[in-house]
Amino acid sequence: MPAAAQRPEHSQPPVLALEGIHKTFGGVVALQSFDLEIEAGEVVALVGDNGAGKSTVVKIIAGMLHPTSGRLRLDGADITFADPSESQARGIQVVYQDLALADGQPVYMNMFLGRERVIGPLRRLDRRGMIAETAELVQALDVRIPSVRARVRDLSGGQRQGVAIARATHWARKLVLMDEPTAALGVAETARVEANIRSLKERNLAILLISHSLDQVFRLSDRICVLRRGVQVGVRRTNATSNNEIVSMITGLS
């Protein structure tokens, strides 16, 4: 199963390459010799049942977890991220499954947390600027929240997800990892997020999308990677596979 057969030939190295990633938690093997490559402008879907190891892949790429063994390459160069701030500095953004927002902080502060804008020689927080920019962004992405000053704690689940996605989209320069980004969203909101993902793709960003909705996966992805109990059972080109094949790969039944 040579990886090259599953993606078009490119002169450039893939944006991200995972090679032989292994991850164990005590006795639990969460991931076993996992390989994946993602190109710029490509949406790769990662599917599998609950506990298959999808979030573990995301956390390893983000630098939140460290692989027990295996290599990560970014633009062809070996890399290790000590913590998520390092992956961010390299243009990688994540929408975590648990969203990882600061609940006590207002929306605009979540958008800028860790990258606060300051003004003047005293480096005061530029609240006004951050509020204005967040308002613009939230409007552009059509995330419907009461106010950018509202505390995240006071938002609905879908609104929070909207904020997390807006944050990731705003700062991503290279790669976006989305762990079930539409899990809490209604029909209209889901459509907006999907449009958003398409526009990220147009901006030539690489996207790793985790979703339990195969319809969504087929609508958005270029390739589909299937995980079963920590083992990669295969990668398929979306236009060369079928819903049935993916389902049987996920469940292991034929």
Binding site: A62, M64, D83, P84, S85, Q88, A89, V94, Y96, A100, L101, A102, D103, G104, Q105, M109, L113, G114, R115, E116, V118, L122, R123, R124, L125, R128, I131, A132, T134, A135, E136, V138, Q139, D142, V143, R144, I145, P146, S147, V148, R149, A150
Partner: protein, 376 residues
Amino acid sequence: MTETSRIESTAAIGAARDERLRQQSGLRRLLSRPELGAFAGAVLVFIFFGITAHGTGMFAADGVLNWTTVSAYLMVIAVGAALLMIAGEFDLSVGSMIGFAGMMIALPTIVFHWPVTLSVIFAFAGALAIGFINGLIVIRTGLPSFIVTLASLYILRGLTLALSILFTNRTIVVGMKEAAEGTFVGFLFSGTIGDPLFTWLADNDIIGRLPNGDPSVRGIPMVVVWALFIALVGHIVLARTKVGNWIFASGGDANAARNVGVPVGAVKISLFMLTAFCATVFAACQVFEFGSAASDRGLLKEFEAIIAAVIGGCLLTGGYGSVIGACLGALIFGVVQMGILFTGVPNDWFRVFLGGMLLIAVLFNNLIRRRVVGGR
């Protein structure tokens, strides 16, 4: 104002379609500030003693100096405690640190004849190092700071006593007034400022005079200046800077903060160093004011600092609070403490009244906050 409302209206466009949303008015935002309850509590306390302690001299110049000084001492450590609490941690070693820092100033000066300036620098360096170690242990082990600093509480208190006995064979080290005579550090921690103003006030019979003819208040004690300085810097950092934002995030949602690259560990360690710094300022002011260091100095001060922060609206769970609130909390505590003395409650009953008054202040504060914020 126009600028703000323009931004507000931009923000509202996205929301305009959902009519259920209520606009958050400026007034409401003002009322939901953490220090509101403490402000109301302070007003209540002043009204209470304005009536009960009327004519006792509590509100004459020297009476005011008295409770201002007590409040200022507490404010110095309450600001540190509040910032640390907002970042989600406690420092129970503050009281012991006051005793220990006092000894770090007095022992080298008296026993080893160091210049007092050097002893003060030594004490600050030592305290910051201990604060750093407290913070490092908390961050590295993930143990609750409550437990880690409880250990420091015992270790530092024990060291204060043991070193004092070891070097001087006594539990109190005296002679600091003489040692600080005419030095800048002596002035920095126990001097007064604005003396000419108070002389003028006495000359014009606006304030009273002591039996020996001096004005009843010589000047503003440096501890008050320190309290205001620490409060001002603390407030600006918390409310106006990046670091302040990181303090809130570290306390409320350490993981989320870490994920977006906030240096949570560094923030918390710095704040443990800040509480140690504040304790040392407290100790230095006290050592030079009393002219001595003693092994029981600062006893229970860690709780007073935490109480002041909580009266001031800080949540014990972190992520919420304000420096101004903590300052008001310290003021309430100081005024209640001294007010009870002025009203002439028998000494044996003092603590009962103090506890009762504090409970009322906290309940009142809580009531106001819940009324205003609603829901939570």
